[in-house]
Symmetry: C2
DNA sequence: GCGACTTTGTTCCTACGTTCACATGCGGCT
DNA sequence: AGCCGCATGTGAACGTAGGAACAAAGTCGC
């Protein structure tokens, strides 16, 4: 199926997944909290502290960290620098991932201008668009190429991650071109469900969906208010203060 | 920490709303697929068709749709227009949600210029920033106000959704101002965990996390490739540096 | 050097979300 | 008008995530 069920692959007994996706997402959050703390000179943290800063339960945090082997010291806590190292290794951040952005509209512009992308390690090395007026001009210090050259350029610059910021109608073809260029990880901002080969991983960031989910909560809250019935049914398991979102 | 666990159905009656968050997200996707289909003149769809287009299992789709009451006709399928109506009602899209964007940098610009925001129903009615050079200028047809005026303006324009596009350090204060202005739904693009009262719903969209998750998949795949043999379960029991942790 | 305290790593358990499979119910066909 | 087929809606099973509690392990104080 498209958008692989990242859970147990049916027949794929193999390593498919030892670390749950949800845990991977949280690990990325811990990583940011940790680097921020290190900058402030913090060298040790307990699971309680780190969990508080990341907005998760401490047991969940310890379980997540256990996926990368023993990194803590009982009775003391975790060495921040060491932990960062371990998480980076697990997430594959030890080597850089060249990023290509397709569709240099408003959003594409914004992403290209982020420069090294939030948290370095993801250098943007290629920009593409169809608009002839954009080709060749420099955005964020990088020239825009025509989408026809996607496959060649991606191979040449060893792009590992493709970001799609095109209008919906162009998203699938942009995706196909990226895949043709050997890109197997795609971040899709276009509000469509992409069809890709099984070995390509797609993550979708959908603003409309996010807004509609918020709308749903707002609507429910309103109806609860008006109904006067206090028995509200909360479903979101992570709606605790500072919820960490990441649904799906 | 959160009280409402209620699983039994004490009140029972307004049972219709125990919709899981994951289902809400999918419903938003179905909604888009449906509107797109309607534009193409499609009036009826089976669960199989719709599920295929949305990239989910048909059973999951039917269960999701069951949350909004019987909308289909057995032996026939779903009436697209009717379904759209039901989903919109559940998601609270029958009334418009005024959106405020805080932080008119690259991303804020992009969002403001989307105009009505992807899929209408979410008109952007206020823009805020700290930069004096930006105050007063028009972005996407709307003037930028100073963040100090957030509370007053949000109340006045009945903003229900706040979008935070500020740098990390400014995010929490932007959030506080929005909350002070009565905004209880927040979409946060800043890579920080916001602290909010219990009745405020925050959803976080974190590009760095998304990229790092992709990086993780890429890393895992690479190690599978390079290992050659299928015995990649081997993990880093000892001090294997590149281990990806499998098994537990 | 020994004991007590602290915090990790893990085990168990509960709850949820997804999927399978089937009974129910509706439209079309003869 | 009645029967057949087909797709919905739902009940049960399965697998996974998350939280509480506990045991191992290491440090600090004496």
């Amino acid at each position: 199926m498209h958008e692989h069920d990242r859970y147990g692959t049916p027949g794929g007994d193999l390593a498919s997944r030892a670390v749950p996706e949800a845990a991977v997402g949280r690990l990325a959050v811990y990583l940011r909290v940790l680097t921020s703390m290190i900058e402030q000179g913090v060298t040790k943290m307990s699971s309680e502290e780190l969990a508080g800063a990341a907005g998760v339960n401490s047991a969940t945090l310890r379980k997540d960290l256990s996926h990368l082997g023993s990194s803590g010291t009982r009775g003391v806590g975790y060495d921040t620098a060491r932990l960062v190292e371990h998480i980076e290794r697990l997430l594959g951040l030890t080597r850089h991932h060249s990023v290509a952005v397709v569709g240099i509209g408003n959003l594409g512009h914004a992403l290209a201008n982020y420069g090294g992308f939030p948290d370095r390690g993801f250098p943007v090395t290629a920009l593409f668009d169809v608009d002839e007026d954009l080709i060749g001009i420099s955005v964020g210090g990088l020239p825009v190429d025509h989408i026809d050259s996607i496959p060649a350029v991606c191979v040449e610059r060893e792009v590992t991650i493709g970001v799609i910021c095109t209008p919906s109608v162009a998203a699938q073809s942009a995706c196909d071109l990226l895949v043709a260029g050997g890109v197997r990880c795609i971040l899709n901002f276009a509000p469509v469900v992409l069809q890709v080969p099984d070995d390509v991983e797609v993550r979708r960031v959908d603003l409309a969906v996010e807004l509609q989910i918020l709308s749903f909560y707002e609507a429910r809250r309103s109806s609860v208010d008006s109904s006067g019935d206090g028995a509200l049914r909360v479903v979101a398991p992570v709606s605790d203060a500072a919820g960490i979102a990441v649904g799906r």
